[in-house]
Symmetry: C2
Subunit: 349 residues, 2 copies
């Protein structure tokens, strides 16, 4: 399905709804609207701030973005010499749901940036996600032999190659960001995005969360300690994916800070829901979280119960949506629907 198909569905739906369509790329949407409904454009525009579109196809949107991101990722890691290293880098790329990178693109587009600019950032984000995934599975960390239904990276390529592939993926991600060439994005903004992402991966982000997670196994963990682990292992990276999208999309200071708060709430809700899925989700969805329970890792349902966790996740999503309300609702629609999706049953990875 292409962007045009999504627009076509939206336009068809428009015949039966009085709500505005999702407008990811205004000049395309405008031309479609003008072509199909020349007399209605003004009316539609006047409604922009009144309501969010109800017929936005989040599944189609997600699938389209994932397809486009996968294509870009495939091109991002060429199979060059030394082949074994590049094979290891490529091996763990497929299979992700591309949520972080889709959030980045959606944030960039909401602020007025284009997908072509956001795509390199999105690739960098998925290269880093892949790095984290390979590392996570290593024997000295989670020691997981399976990932996304196939043997984990170190099982296929050995530990040394897996570790070097992580290093190479990190470097490639940085090169992708640094080499974004677009008149609409100043080098200064690229540097800011670089700081955001590295801060979310290093000793103030994923690495910090991982180390606290490892050291808490089998121990009594307080809610504030669990919040620290989840915020650093996952939350900050989700926040950085969103904020970097806003930065390269051209967001001003207020927009960036609002979206930072949005990202913070979404990141925490995501992790809460991940923990909840273990209790209420399907067997497949329980796979990863189930392993965490077996390892006696701390989870939210253990500390505050399933209902308490669900309630808090939904409060966080509501808080996030308050920030979205500041933006044009037609442009904010994808993010609005994506965060609904995050706290929907069993589809949150």
């Amino acid at each position: 399905m292409t962007s045009s198909d999504i627009f076509r569905n939206s336009i068809n739906a428009l015949k039966h709804h009085s709500v505005i369509p999702y407008v990811p790329n205004s000049h395309v949407a405008k031309s479609i609207l003008l072509r199909r409904q020349p007399n209605k454009l003004k009316v539609i525009n006047s409604q922009r701030n009144d309501t969010l579109p109800k017929f936005f196809q989040v599944d189609e949107y997600k699938a389209l973005k994932a397809k486009q991101i996968n294509k870009a990722l495939d091109e991002a890691v060429p199979l060059r010499h030394p082949a074994i290293l590049h094979e290891a880098m490529r091996y763990s790329l497929p299979g992700g749901k591309r949520l972080m990178s889709t959030l980045c693109i959606a944030s960039c587009e909401m602020i007025g940036g284009s997908q072509s600019v956001a795509m390199s950032m999105a690739c960098a984000i998925e290269l880093l996600v892949t790095m984290a995934v390979i590392q996570d599975d290593l024997p000295c960390l989670d020691n997981d032999e399976l990932r996304r239904g196939k043997p984990s990276n170190y099982k296929v390529f050995g530990e040394a190659t897996a570790i070097l592939a992580c290093q190479a993926l990190h470097c490639l991600a940085m090169q992708h960001i640094a080499m974004i060439k677009a008149k609409t994005v100043s080098p200064d903004r690229l540097l800011r995005a670089m700081v955001e992402i590295n801060s979310a991966v290093g000793s103030e982000g994923i690495a910090a969360g991982q180390i606290m997670d490892i050291n808490s196994e089998g121990k009594e963990v307080s809610l504030s300690e669990l919040n620290f682990i989840h915020r650093h292992k996952t939350g900050k990276f989700i926040e950085a994916s969103i904020v970097s999208g806003v930065i390269i999309g051209g967001g001003n200071e207020e927009e960036t800070e609002r979206m930072r708060h949005f990202g913070k709430c979404v990141g925490m809700a995501y992790q809460l829901w991940n923990d909840i899925v273990d209790v209420i989700g399907s067997p497949e969805m329980r796979e990863k979280t189930g392993r965490d329970m077996m390892r006696d890792k701390a989870t939210y349902p253990k500390l505050v119960g399933v209902d308490g966790s669900k309630k808090h996740a939904k409060e966080l999503i509501a808080e996030a949506k308050q920030e979205l309300a500041y933006f044009d609702p037609s442009r904010a629609a994808p993010l609005d629907h994506l965060v609904n999706f995050i706290v929907s049953f069993g589809n949150n990875n």
Copy 2:
């Protein structure tokens, strides 16, 4: 010893020599010269392109730069929460000779940049060197229990923490480069330096060299394969340290490409000499390379003999110096002396 001391020594030496002094910071040096030898300045300047200073104190220069870099590095990695992660990051920082970072600063200064600007880049370089050192010692890679006379990182902190410290050091290095704030360095130049460094660390650099090195153990290795390993494991990083110094120092295209060739030659000579030291060096110097021989890793003396290796190393240094001749000899003096040092007996790490 301060910069002033070095200048004082240079000026004292000037009384007994007819050659020009090293001028790392021309306005300071100029004022010293004017103050002490007001009538000689013109004569001195007219000699600038005739000869290189002979009395440059390379040991003092190296010691001073190392001291300044160590101070900056100590401040670069604060001991914050989670303490164990930051302790692991800091543990492997001391003890390096800071050759790569000194080459970066010397290149930046030669081109007209200031040390204050180069220092963040130098820190980033040493953070990456430290990352590579920690990783190199892991059981699945070189499995070295000792590094710089003390237990290696993973022996003290465990493999998981060592791996996470590597990731965090990489992120911190990127943040250091991205956050350089100087009127004299455009964000565009920082992005270029970022690409240089990451290219030298990832799948076109250290990671590529490491993987080929691992896979060549115990096998017949051709000279071209050995060149690939050494160029990628060490050479490219030395080249990138020099080129990034030139970029942030404000070098134009010709200067950058000349210094790239200079760096390429120096990088290869460095590795050749490292291999030679195993045969002609002191027991302490043989420690690392000796382990490589025991592991049946390929080295230059094995393939082309000690004399052949020495000859080639000196040819490479001569080739490098041809590029240096393009620059003001007084500004090029530190690099000229540093590369002599690289191919001097037993002091090349």
